[in-house]
Symmetry: C2
Subunit: 256 residues, 2 copies
DNA sequence: ATTTAATCTTGATCTATATCAATGGCAGTT
DNA sequence: AACTGCCATTGATATAGATCAAGATTAAAT
């Protein structure tokens, strides 16, 4: 997707509509004190579940998680957000937010009030389209994720997660080979629907196979080909050992 | 949410924008031969993955499943559709459909071309809002579903599915107590991420507990309270026996 | 600087559910 | 009426990954 250079309708001084998601910083005229632009710290909440819906946001820097609450009180992370993501689209449904958004590190957002947004939609086909596209993209993303939950085992889901993160960073001009996880292992486990112990084990396993290198939150992908194989259902012989096989190997090692 | 009686902008002769989702049949002036209205048979495909996106649809009668295809070739059902559902929203993302839609029984849809839709969005705040609301609703629905996949066991997921179906039918003025499943057990299993054998076993189990009655595709809910308990994580004592316990009971029965 | 609290890793065991296998019923076709 | 294919049920077994338990490491707070 190419980046257009001609002027585009914009919703705030920081954002134009020219990039592939929704928002792009216009570096030539950054005004640091624009009312629509705000900085948050790690663990800050952008909005909580049930809060009234009066604006959508574009993540400009940092990262965030969005989660929904089960009746049981269990928190389920539904996605992680990176710069240029649209946030708050869940609010159109019934006028209040279904999700809550918590920042994972120091981050900044552009805020677009509903009134302005509606005006912009009337006046600009481009903005209408970008908004619908953003929501549609989120929907498709979630469908793909659902697919992975239902059809992949833990190793595949984790590999898929790492590869997805990698391309997220790459798409944003950062390194897709080495990056820092902004979320805890608990968050990853919650998101991928597995126990934190499983995440930990799989990460060290991938490391032992020389597929990745993990040092705290820092991940380095050493072998994309193998990492991809982990999720392409290339099962015989599977790259990663199953828990059972590992167990047997352990016993054999001890006996020998 | 109240139903407005004043005239509303409409996209086709069959649809106004007055109900809570998007579409409502205007019974006073049905024109049977409107070009936007089409009938499909069971197993017909509305559109397939990769097909160009040129319209959205509103399901008027019948039911459909939408599915995405994994690299592995595996089909994953991402949702079931019932009358008044908006279909085709996945296409805004990149101009072609990510999903494919297959009807589960004789069904009819209203078709709204993209050109008309865009015109309508410019002219009507109500239509802008309904469309965004529809997408947001789909997004929230999927988030909730994701939550259930990650946090519920098979029995809970199936109970949740049945209760959801029940309220879908109830919301549409049909019986929430007795209804026919339009999908196969294979579809249910695929959607809920479990083996077909598990679906079958759980259904007979729920029947043995006098919570539901199943006869082929016909489901009758006998005890909503108990069915709800199945998913409220009211675990001690859990209503449904685990596979292990069943197995033990079987053995004990045989010994005795 | 020391305490306290998160966070992460690794090992051992348990169990929910997939998988394998067999059978029965029903709908469409010849 | 017999054949074929799909759909559903039920039983026996295997296993991926959860859970339980214990430490180790790092970060935050006093």
């Amino acid at each position: 997707m190419s980046i257009h250079t001609k002027p585009q309708p914009s919703l705030c001084q920081h954002c134009t509509m020219s990039d592939m998601r929704f928002c792009q910083v216009n570096k030539s005229k950054v005004e640091p004190k624009v009312k629509y632009h705000k900085v948050y710290n790690k663990s800050d909440v952008l909005f909580g579940s049930g809060q009234i819906f009066d604006a959508i946001y574009i993540l400009r820097s940092g990262s965030a998680k969005s989660s929904v609450l089960a009746n049981s009180g269990h928190e389920q992370i539904s996605r992680f957000h990176y710069p240029s993501d649209l946030i708050g689209l869940d609010g159109f449904d019934n006028g209040s937010h279904a999700q809550s958004i918590k920042f994972l590190e120091t981050s900044s957002v552009c805020r677009i009030g509903l009134g302005e947004l509606d005006k912009a939609m009337v006046n600009s086909a481009s903005i209408r389209y970008k908004l619908l596209q953003g929501m549609s993209h989120a929907l498709n993303d979630e469908d793909k994720f659902l697919l992975s939950l239902n059809n992949m085992n833990s190793a595949e889901r984790l590999s898929s997660f790492l590869l997805d993160l990698s391309s997220q960073f790459e798409n944003r001009g950062l390194s897709g080979n080495v990056f820092d996880l902004s979320m805890t292992r608990v968050d990853i486990a919650n998101y991928l629907g597995m126990a934190i112990e499983t995440v930990s084990r799989l990460l060290t396993q991938l490391q032992n196979e020389d597929i990745i290198e993990v040092e705290k939150r820092r991940v380095k992908i050493l072998n994309f080909r193998k990492l991809n194989q982990c999720l392409l259902h290339e099962r015989e012989p599977h790259i990663l050992l199953t828990a059972k096989t590992r167990q047997l190997n352990n016993i054999q090692a001890r006996v020998a």
